[in-house]
Symmetry: C2
Subunit: 361 residues, 2 copies
Amino acid sequence: MTGLAQTANPGSGRTVISVDAMGGDRGPAAVVAGISHSAKINPDIAFILHGPADELAKLVARKRILDGRVEIRDASDVVSMEDKPREVIRSKTTSMWSALESLRSGEAAGVVSCGNTGALMMLSVVRLRKILGVDRPAIAVLWPSRAPQGFNIMLDAGADISADEHDLLQYALMGASYARNGMDLERPRVGLLNVGTEEHKGRTELKLAHDLIARNAKNANYDFVGFVEGNDLPADKADVIVTDGFTGNVALKTGEGTAGLIGSLLKEAFRFSPLSRLAALLAYTSLNRLNKRIDPRRVNGGVFLGLNGTVVKSHGSSDATGVSAAVKLAFKLAQSGFSEKLAARVASAVSLPQDADSTNE
Amino acid sequence: MTGLAQTANPGSGRTVISVDAMGGDRGPAAVVAGISHSAKINPDIAFILHGPADELAKLVARKRILDGRVEIRDASDVVSMEDKPREVIRSKTTSMWSALESLRSGEAAGVVSCGNTGALMMLSVVRLRKILGVDRPAIAVLWPSRAPQGFNIMLDAGADISADEHDLLQYALMGASYARNGMDLERPRVGLLNVGTEEHKGRTELKLAHDLIARNAKNANYDFVGFVEGNDLPADKADVIVTDGFTGNVALKTGEGTAGLIGSLLKEAFRFSPLSRLAALLAYTSLNRLNKRIDPRRVNGGVFLGLNGTVVKSHGSSDATGVSAAVKLAFKLAQSGFSEKLAARVASAVSLPQDADSTNE
């Protein structure tokens, strides 16, 4: 066990992030490399690391920068990608359970896990509980975009497969709160994903949600830009794009798949001839800049919204860069007091859907 | 009027495609340039062109290749992008109406229009009628992919905002038929879009559709690969991807938006420095090849499935290349007798959903 006293002690002044070292496709070595990278660039961060103590201790010992900044919590079991969420919530011996427990007890200010999304969400709901006024927690992801901040927020990316108009309003409130605390946008623009931008179009719950979200804009301090379409996800039109988890998940994976296809065709194009290989060399810096801009590892981290505590889901295949990006996000949200602000925001709006007259309170 | 006798006359041996010259963002000049391009590369094609006769005659007269291969049908009104579908179906003086009428009467073997999608679909349903066994017609689009044929088919891309399990089965049957006749795939692979590939996941209608589509695979001569996800749209996993029109439309526009963002960032990257500008020159041929592969203009053409007749919706902003691609698609489908084959296929499967015992008929 390394550095327990320094990190768990609030007097150290460091923000403690709990990291589930297990469950990712690349194993705990990638996770330890990721937190080591974070520790290097951010002196104000410390970690509680959850997993098999012996294995983790060896990995941590190799990274000088982690000296005194990591506490290891032994957890013998791992939640696998195949485990059913219903079984996961019964097992107290997993690294995932242990990580969430340290958040629940107040020892850590945020959790990062590369594990099974469905299991992590269900366990988070059971252990952390939903905040008042939220029926369906959501997963918010960052989407590379033409907006000045370089990213838009989309939610729900797949926590639930459906959402009614009240859920969609909550997503709008939570997404706007995330944009304020995670991206420093004082008055974020909120859009509602649909198949057309005309107000008469789309499913019934979307028309109802359109009215609810519009009515709450002033109170909740966001601009409602109305309906947006799939091509607006990477555009400079809305900073927060609200949709149900089924549509959001399909959109997210479609975007990833499209970017992946173009990326691999681009690589093929540059390998095609001696001339194009030379071109790739000459364009290296510029292409690298482009790559950074759209690299999914750098926008890694689906944030669970609507729970008592900040949980960041890192991609299952995250490498050190991806884990480090997720840790950075958890740190930023923890420091801004995001979780408490979001709860206050949703609580203040919770009576609005039922009571149209209270919008100017 | 140019060339009436030659084109409307079946004895000419040419396949006649009816083209709505109006309603696209670039006006009739782009449409005439497009059919002129098609005429150049395909000697077996002739056109009926619908719109204001005087204006069209002038445009057609400028293209020598169209001599004797275009009949102009005067239609004074244009369906605009703002027109409500319900109003459009009452007006018999539009170029869209005129184009569909020539298909209905058997003068043309297919229709191409760049006009308002909702109006075109509603008018097509009213004038051409749905084929037996189809409740909801669908729009099928081509998706650039890693599959050997270079494209996958996705439907519904937005004809309707919802679909139950029986609609989804019909989409599978129609999509497979399209793949056979439009892409020469004898036994296409069909996938059902969902948020996970496990059979227990997703909405109820998807689980029911999973069973129905699996049960019909042998009879309808396709391979069912089960659930697929958004990232499989451009993959080499399913040739036909089935989903409801809401999800399909969001996915399509998300893919377009993502490709657009990467394309413009790539252009910026190549303009960034003298070195990168030189690189762009050197890589010109390779990048051009990539561009052709994913250029949306070359995969232009949403095919309306489930109607008596072949209607191809060209993108509203189609230029000559886009219009020509849509014409090529309409020609190919007309020549293969696609519309009749599809009707036969759906009719033979129409009793199956109600009667599980008939699957081995």
